[in-house]
């Protein structure tokens, strides 16, 4: 994966770039908005990490300019703590995801990978999602495993849908809270854990192979461990 980091804080940029390279990805750094727009339109990147506060053009302007030029590369905004409205502004300007500083690198990585593999806009979206012998029909709102129908609560359905769309990718608690519940805060009560555990009980009951895996301290992963079974 090739990522462009547009960030004027050298320390943050170096930290992110080092982390990406350590995991075998390419990373390029530019320190201001103008260079960022140039670089992003001239080269093909899989994802852009964009700071909100930048010299020359600020982050919102950069996204707007790129989108106006037809550059559809997914953009992940990084922002400082100030301004809880920033998120909305960022997404409205054309950003794809949003992460508040300070952040855990795992969180950034998980979101970046989810973004980079997101199907391009405009492509026909599938009506059936599947993983191994698990099948989700988005139109009929039914879930089957090995042909056997599983009864899910609406929220469990959305949770499973999000995991299926991100098959083989780490999803964090925060990502689930944002996308499944639309909560931009992290409640003290373990609502994600209990929902995951219920969902897991329903779809894994009586099966040898579990589909939903907990990555300790990071999040969850939907993966078919033994596809040949």
């Amino acid at each position: 994966m090739k990522t462009l980091i547009i960030e004027d804080d050298e320390e943050v940029a170096a930290f992110v770039a080092a982390g990406l390279r350590e995991r075998g990805h390419e990373a390029a750094i530019v320190a201001n908005g103008r260079d960022g727009v140039q670089r992003a339109s001239a080269e093909q990147f899989d994802a852009i990490i964009l700071d909100r506060m930048l010299p020359e053009f600020d982050g919102l302007t950069v996204v707007a300019l790129l989108r106006a030029e037809g550059v559809a590369t997914p953009v992940l905004f990084l922002t400082n703590l100030s301004g809880i409205d920033d998120r909305v502004d960022g997404l409205e300007a054309g950003g794809d995801d949003y992460l508040v500083k300070p952040f855990a690198f795992e969180e950034l990585m998980a979101r970046l990978i989810a973004l980079a593999r997101r199907p391009m806009l405009g492509g026909a979206s599938p009506t059936v999602l599947s993983a191994g012998d698990l099948e989700m029909d988005l139109v009929a709102r039914t879930v089957r495993r090995g042909g056997e129908e599983i009864d899910l609560q609406p929220r469990e359905f959305r949770l499973l849908e999000f995991l299926l769309r991100n098959e083989e990718r780490l999803v964090t608690r925060k990502m689930l809270l944002e996308h499944v519940w639309e909560f931009l805060f992290d409640p003290q009560t373990n609502i994600v854990e209990t929902h995951i555990s219920r969902l897991r009980t329903k779809i894994d009951r009586g099966r040898a192979a579990s589909l939903i895996h907990t990555i300790r301290g990071a999040g969850y992963l939907l993966r078919v461990l033994n596809p040949g079974l």
Binding site: S82, L184, Q188, T189
Partner: protein
């Protein structure tokens, strides 16, 4: 105006004066008709002896005086006579002028009824002087009253100015003194006082935030420092260093969470979020949040119940309202033991909504009910459970932004936190 009043009063008095003479003449003519000339003469003689009466004269057709003092002129009708031309007027006084009505009676004798002009003038002078006094008094009282009123007004404006100056100088609790007078100026003063109260509240919040941060964040920072120093002292033991670093990171993450919560509260209190307000259904938001918490509550052996009027219209920010309700539920679930029943109830009320979260857990000491919304408040019993002590403070900040009033009460047993649409008329 005064001249007009004078003229009409004068006209009125003179008309009265003449009318009295005409009336008396008519009465005397009736006496003449009934009792004849001698009877009339007797009546006049009797009247003349009464003090303050009119003046009379009666003459036979041959101009012989039969009664009274007045001497008739040649013609009949209204005339003016000099009083008693025969008598010498007393020294130094002018002869009196008498206005008289001369009437020829059916038998040719002449009746004269008159009155001293002086009396009309006296009456007029009396009225005039009363009139003058009244005007004078009015002017004086008006001036004095106006002066008093304007001084009163200026004094009150001055009080406002002084209060504003004191506040500018840093006396944030200063208010404009209110007078019992209920007028526009009082209304203005009350509005200013509300403004000053708001400013004071915001400033105190700022003051508290620094003090609170200093107090409550020093402890975890000191603990991080201790761990890292301890690790350095351990020297080469890599495992010990690693675990110290891990613990330090966990502590710092908690600190960051607290900072996030503080900043969020500050941003909510600053009111910037109001721009994103839309009409929302609080019932729908409450339902979603309760649904999210239900499985976790059940797993902990707690009951989370929901009782709602629908819809509960409110203008607000969906994310913040969701967080507000989530924090209230979080608070109820975390501080209560297994088996507790938490009920979220929403009702429509005249002019607004009421939302409450009540539990039947151990509750909060009645003396502490007032302070549970304060920053970093933690009940003694809750010191052992995790939490920043900011949850309900954020609830209060979000509620305030949405025009909701927070209150905490004894649920007998347990704690009830209620949010009610504030009276918008205040």
């Amino acid at each position: 105006m005064g001249g007009f009043v004078y003229l009409s009063v004068r006209h009125e008095i003179l008309t009265d004066f003449d009318a009295r003479i005409i009336e008396e003449t008519d009465a005397l003519r009736r006496t003449f008709a009934e009792e004849g000339r001698d009877g009339l003469a007797a009546t006049l003689a009797a009247r003349g002896s009464i003090g303050g009466a009119l003046l009379y004269g009666l003459e036979a057709p041959d101009r012989k005086r039969l009664a009274g003092d007045l001497v008739a002129p040649v013609s009949s009708g209204w005339t003016e006579l000099k009083e008693d031309e025969n008598d010498e007027p007393p020294e130094g006084t002018a002869a009196e002028i008498i206005r008289a009505l001369v009437t020829r009676l059916p038998d040719g004798s002449i009746l004269i009824v008159g009155d001293e002009r002086r009396r009309a003038n006296e009456a007029l002078r009396g009225v005039l002087s009363a009139f003058g006094w009244a005007i004078g008094a009015t002017i004086i009282l008006g001036l004095a009253g106006g002066l008093w009123l304007s001084r009163q007004f200026l004094r009150r404006v001055d009080a406002m100015r002084l209060a504003a100056q004191a506040i500018m100088a840093g006396d944030w609790s200063r208010r404009i003194p209110l007078t019992p007078i209920d007028d526009d100026l009082s209304a203005l003063a009350r509005t200013f006082n509300r403004l000053f109260a708001r400013i004071e509240k915001l400033l105190l919040a700022n003051k508290h935030i620094s003090a609170d941060i200093a107090h409550d964040l020093r402890k975890p920072l000191a603990s991080v420092l201790r761990r890292l120093e301890g690790a350095r002292a351990q020297g080469a033991d890599l495992e010990a260093v690693r675990s110290a670093v891990k613990a330090a990171i966990a502590e710092i993450e908690n600190l960051l969470e607290t900072f996030n919560a503080l900043l969020r509260i500050a941003q909510v209190e600053a009111g910037a979020r109001r721009a994103g307000f839309r009409p929302r259904d609080l019932a729908e938001i409450a339902r979603e949040v309760v649904e999210a918490f239900q499985p976790a509550a059940e797993d902990e052996g707690k009951t989370l119940a929901l009782r709602l009027d629908e819809p509960l219209p409110i203008s607000g920010d969906k994310e913040l309202l969701a967080q507000m309700i989530a924090n209230m539920i979080d608070n109820a679930l975390r501080h209560a033991p297994k088996g507790v029943r938490v009920e979220v109830a929403g009702e429509r009320m005249p002019g607004g909504v009421r939302l409450s979260v009540a539990d039947d857990g151990p509750g909060v000491d009645s003396r502490e009910l007032k302070v549970i919304f304060e920053r970093f408040y933690r009940a003694d019993a809750a010191r052992s459970t995790p939490g920043s002590g900011l949850g309900l403070n954020l609830v209060a900040a979000i509620a305030d932004l949405h025009g909701l009033e927070c209150s905490a009460s004894d649920n007998r047993p347990g704690l009830r936190v209620t949010l009610t649409t504030a009276d918008s008329s205040e």
